[in-house]
Symmetry: D2
Subunit: 337 residues, 4 copies
């Protein structure tokens, strides 16, 4: 950590800052510049992180040198992590395709979608039973009834299942019915939920908040790992920007950036990242080319009757073609679908 | 709601869309333009809102005409709402000052801060017992112990108390100890939490998410009102932008904008909106001048020892001066502190 | 165009709006909804675009239906445009690689870089002679001297040349020395410059402003086409967002989105879009996978001595590997480098 | 400047960096931390600023300590600067009100507006003769004809005149006709234009780019001052964010922030900052309360016939009331209109 003092800071003020640092068991190294004094801190920076050094008179700014995350970092674990669920490995050579409806609506539709995405190459079935909706008047999901449908249909078609959890009180229930628990963008900083998920062993798919930096994203993953659950998959799903032609802006830079900073697998959600089904195939190919380990895609047999997100859902035929095009990219990278 | 069709949409596709609208009990009015066909929908727009019309072949875009919120809107209730808690009225002529530490640290410090802010003109004591922190390794608050301190100190100094709730499981506990429950920016779209808060009668201070639109903000308030609790205070606390000299960007436009759209009281948090104590007084005056009904300010007797947010906390003397300057503005507006 | 009236708009106000529209030679179609009146406008929408209808009493909002650009749109020209310069075609099957230093520094370095990028597969040499720099104290480019070096070196190695123009007074000078003129992000809305570029016949590479929407980007291209120059190449180079790990956020969605809306070729600048050379290869592959027609990449033989942008420049060896990896992606798409 | 090295940087790499710094006549101070080595640079930081140290192997990041601007900084000149034009002083005790139409349309309208704003308390008349418009098909201004009208009308009513310059070739022409030259948001980084404006003596009103940080804003002002023209007025006019209810987001924090960092006067444009005339009065009061030295407001006698920006223009009566309300705020601050 580096502390920059304001010009004209008094000797007494300077000494107060240094004393504070020493009191935490850290050493200091003072550089007297032409216009500014700089204090370098030597030792375990974490001891200082929680101290409001910027509130000391004379302190102009405090610059952390080390990343605040530990367990998720590549420095902690240089090799890629692979999350295994049944016969599916996420973060290995194979690109994993997760697909399904935004919300579970009824058994018949879910079965039809599951059958179709399985045939096209998906290995994981997605679908929401508890839906976080902007409006209290929108469809909120089938709840437990939906979980049962998800379990039955996933088993019937030999698919791994994933669904979203939005309440810490539901963690045990969901863990009973599905294989992977998903944290949505709006809950990325619902820290109590993250802590509960750190206590179970099931894999967690953590979506990046639409307003969260890569650093905050990794810190949220750190919450889960720090409770003991290392089975975390990160998902870039688009961030909010000024551009409004698309629903969100897929932060494609984040894919190689996270791979550089962390050992965790990274997948991309092209459906929410664009909000337009016409763009889904192109950005899916881009995501894989950038190094993503998989995709989570909204597919519906009848998007125009979907209970939500119809405008960004692919129809089965388009999905099939998308998987084929993604497979060609994967092959060029010496990976496969 | 207005539906714009793509050029070259077939007659059959057009009829499918119209049939769908009619099946929901709505009427249509079709305008055949030079390049586009436009379908105006007449009737209760809500019936259509949940339908993925954009997924119909031939539909280019769907434009809602009415706001999606009802109970929070000024059309629903033209007069300003006033939220009353003990002897404090929020949204009335008097500007309400809420002040206190970011986190409750210990009884002695809390008492000292409470005494000081009371003397300077604050009527509400703020302080966090459950802290949502970006890092799992940061101080997470004193929990129930902190709530008790808050209750005792607020009573001792005749202050109304406010603290943050971050978990739906804690709502009843907090309601027992404090007067106003606060929803933080990170939980603005924690819908299950909002629903629980709609079921109690205590006033709720809802902070705007740092990357939430005004419309989404009002929709989140709608969640609380739609469950029966109309005692909601809205709080603008700065949004996330590309500017990084300040911690956030106070959206001052939002103050008169929300006043125009909604009847609910609006207050401003100048501490989080700037992240720099040097700017707090200036933007506090701006907030009141723009029409805000109050302020929620971080004050600490020793910011350099604060467990969090020290760099944006005012010292008691600065806070006193701030209140004086704010009072002068309030007087110019024929309001008072 | 659709005009939505406020509730309780008087009959007289409504008639004033309709009269205004009729006075422009347009027809109206009025839909009387339950809560709002909607006026659909039939005829050439452009006549209305410049009219401040929102300033009429009673008007709540005005919603344009048609895109404001004409000549750049796919509706105007459904086939992809190909921009030809010497032996290079941009927008055709072959992926075009433009590479070179940020700034032209001296003849020796430029020759070394040109030789190296040519050998690796680039066909266009980039390099700035007039540099727009945030600070007046930074290196501002070699000016005319640099242009001559660019011309000589490009000819020596059989490369097409591209350089940035920042002043309408320089257009003729640059057109004499280089093959493609580039408009930088900061000048995307320097409309007088765009008009001058519309009057010449040389190809123009137009970079997207870092905070410009896709629509504004296309409107700026429209300025050039509307003056008669259809040889425009669009370049996505990253937009400004809250994320600060990277210099900008590459808007990968924009690649297929622009392809959908416009017939013009689209290339991507992975160097500015990331600001970190370590990420350049991954996002270059992503750009091509998303459908881009080429790349413009910063390459320097000695980045640590570069006069600007050293941290995002690839070294020749890394560039060579990048081109190879991009070529594999291109092949998977049935294109080639 | 501080240079942070990556873990495991070799001794040789470290020495290369240090050698480079020494070669520029600077001293170094090396702190060997537990995980990172930090190099503090002592001496004139500017020598290093243009060097791409981040491109050196082993360098993780480079952190500048000093602000890159000099002449605009409060460290350079601690007292507030006052810009004087005829009988108007900007940056002194009196709040300056600039008002007028977005574009100069014809003599009659301009005279009517000038008369009205003068009576309400404005001392500066605004109006555009050269308009930068997003669309090439929109009204582009009356040009030289408009300048003459502006000069004549300003003289007739004893007002100071201000108009926008968009092309370096027009600077001399404009300087002949008007008192203050305005640089619009889209041209804030049109550096050649800024340089030309630095060579004249007339006051320059520099608007913040909608995508520019406070630091970049001050750097652009530095361009003008560094050429010798110290008569610069800064104007905050709203930045672009994700919020779309308003046209832009007024960055009210920027007012006290710039006052802290710079000695230059600061005014606010509430018309562009909101894009809605209904919000203009509230945010004008906020701007003055936050410490702004003046306002620049769009006023039109018939907004519904305005050639541009009608929806954000105040009518004369609303403007008169706005000035009264602003005057009450000014009085509370011991300033006056």
């Amino acid at each position: 950590m580096i502390i920059v003092l304001k010009p004209k800071t008094s000797k007494k003020e300077k000494e107060k800052v240094i004393k504070k640092i020493h009191s935490l068991g850290l050493k200091t190294m003072v550089s007297q510049g032409v216009e500014r004094t700089i204090i370098g801190v030597i030792g375990e920076e974490d001891a200082l992180r929680v101290q409001p050094l910027e509130a000391f008179p004379g302190v102009e700014k405090v610059i952390p040198v080390l990343a605040p995350y530990k367990l998720v970092s590549r420095e902690f674990k240089p090799q890629n992590s692979v999350v295994k669920v049944k016969n599916v490995s996420i973060g290995a050579k194979q690109i994993v395709i997760m697909a399904g409806p935004c919300a579970i609506e009824n058994l018949k539709t879910l079965r039809a979608i599951a059958k179709s995405v399985k045939e096209s190459g998906a290995t994981v079935l997605r679908g929401g039973a508890f839906k976080p909706r902007t409006s209290p008047y929108s469809f909120q999901g089938l709840g437990k009834e939906g979980l049962k449908m998800m379990r039955d249909v996933a088993e019937e078609y030999g698919l791994v299942s994933i669904t979203e959890v939005i309440d810490p009180r539901d963690v045990d229930l969901l863990a009973k019915y599905v294989d992977i628990l998903q944290v949505g963008a709006r809950n990325m900083q619902n820290f109590n939920l993250l802590k509960e998920l750190g206590k179970i062993k099931k894999p967690i798919l953590l979506k990046r908040g639409m307003m969260s930096t890569i650093k905050e994203f990794l810190m949220s993953a750190e919450y889960i790992l720090s409770e003991g659950n290392f089975n975390v998959i990160l998902c870039e799903r688009g961030i909010r920007t000024f551009e409004n032609f698309t629903r969100n802006t897929l932060d494609i830079n984040a894919v190689p950036a996270i791979k550089m900073l962390s050992h965790l697998p990274v997948i991309v959600d092209p459906s929410h990242a664009t909000g337009k089904w016409e763009l889904v195939t192109a950005v899916s190919k881009a995501a894989i080319a950038a190094g993503a380990d998989g995709l989570i895609v909204e597919v519906h047999t009848h998007p125009e009757q979907a209970a939500s997100d119809g405008e960004q859902s692919l129809k089965p035929l388009n999905f099939r073609n998308m998987v084929k095009e993604v497979a060609a990219i994967a092959k060029a990278l010496k990976r496969k679908v």
